[in-house]
Subunit: 193 residues, 2 copies
C-alpha cells in the first residue's frame, strides 16, 4: 500500500534531526525561490524608541553548515541603528505550506563598504533602488512622494545573522515543538507545544 500522503508529508517532523533539517531546507528554498513562504521573513529587534520592532525583509542567504542567515538593507535604516546598539535579533517565518514556524535567535553582524562590494556587483541595477533613498528611510517628508531613489553602494549593508538557537513548531495532525541551540551542537530537545 502506498504511504498516506499526509503522513509522508509529516515524516520529517517526527525526529529532531529531520525536523531541524527541514527548517534549513525551507530557509534555503526561500533564498532560491521568490514564491517560497520563507522568501519574506520577519526580523525583530530591540527598538531605539523603547518598543519591540519587527519588519519584513527578503531572505538573501541561508548556510546550514555555518548556521547563518543573510539579509540586505539600507545602512541608514532604523534596524541598523538598533542592531548597532544591541545585535540580538529574531528572524521569524511562518511557512504555511509546511505548517512550520521557524524562530531563530541570531546575533547580527553588519557588513558595509569594501566587505560588500562583491555582493553589490551581483545585484541587478533595477533592484539597487532599495538602497539609497534621499532623504534616508524613516525621515519625515512633506508629501508622500517627496523622496528620490538614488542607489548607492555607500548605503548598502549586509546583515549576517549568526543563529544561536532555533525554536521550531510543526502544526501537523499532531503538534510538535523543539528547541535547538548552537551551544548544544544543534542536537535539540522536544518541548510541550
Amino acid at each position: 500500500m502506498p504511504p498516506n500522503p499526509a503522513e509522508a508529508a509529516q515524516a520529517w517532523a517526527q525526529s529532531l534531526e529531520t525536523l531541524r533539517d527541514a527548517a534549513w531546507g525551507r530557509l534555503v528554498r526561500g533564498v532560491r525561490d521568490k514564491r517560497a513562504p520563507a522568501r519574506h521573513v520577519t526580523l525583530s529587534t530591540y527598538g531605539r524608541n523603547g518598543w519591540p520592532q519587527a519588519r519584513i525583509v527578503v531572505l538573501r542567504g541561508a548556510d546550514k553548515a555555518a548556521a547563518t542567515l543573510e539579509v540586505h538593507t539600507d545602512l541608514r535604516s532604523a534596524k541598523i541603528a538598533e542592531l548597532q546598539a544591541d545585535p540580538r535579533a529574531m528572524l521569524h517565518v511562518w511557512d504555511d505550506r509546511a505548517r512550520l514556524q521557524i524562530r531563530a535567535e541570531a546575533r547580527a553582524e553588519i557588513l558595509t563598504g569594501p566587505q560588500v562590494s562583491d555582493r553589490w556587483a551581483r545585484i541587478p541595477e533595477g533592484s539597487r533602488i532599495a538602497y539609497g533613498s534621499r532623504p534616508a528611510p524613516g525621515q519625515p517628508i512633506l508629501t508622500a512622494l517627496d523622496y528620490a531613489k538614488q542607489p548607492s553602494v555607500q548605503d548598502f549593508a549586509v546583515l549576517i545573522l549568526h543563529v544561536q538557537a532555533f525554536d521550531l513548531v510543526h502544526l501537523g495532525s499532531d503538534h510538535r515543538r523543539a528547541r535547538f541551540e548552537r551551544a548544544g551542537g544543534w542536537t535539540g530537545a522536544w518541548l510541550s507545544p
Copy 2:
C-alpha cells in the same frame, strides 16, 4: 475610460486618512475571514532570555474606534510572562494582497479568569485545545508527543493590545510610508520609505 485597476487599487494609499483606514480595514478582515492575509499576525515582545521574541498568533479582534487589537493565548505561555515583565509589543502584518505592511506599537493588557469567561463560552469546543496543554507550553518533554491537551478556562488569556502608533508601508508602483500616533490623534505624517 474606466479607471486603471492597478491605480484604483492604490487610491487608498494616496492620502494619510485613507491609508490609515485601509490598514484598519485589512485588520478587521483578518478577524472575520480565516483566509485573509491579516488572519495570522506576528507578535513581537522583549524576551525574558534577553532575545527579541516573535511568534505567529491569530488576530481575534480589531476595533478602530478604540484602536485596540485582540489575541488569545495560553496564560502559561512565554509571551504572557514577557508581557507581564514589559507590556510593550509590536504586532506586525505583511498583507501581500494589499502590498501593505502594518506595524503596530501596542501596550498589552492581559485579561484572565472572570474577565474572559464570556469569550471562553463563545469558543467552539474543538478550538479550546489551544489553551491548556499539560505540561505547560515550552516545558521540556522526553518524546515529541509526551503531552496532553486539557482545555481549561484557567489557562485561557486574552491580550488587549492598545495601539499607540502605526507605521504603514505600501509597496505599490510607488512606495509610500507614514507614521500615525495615538498621542497625535492619528493624523499621521509621511516618512521617506
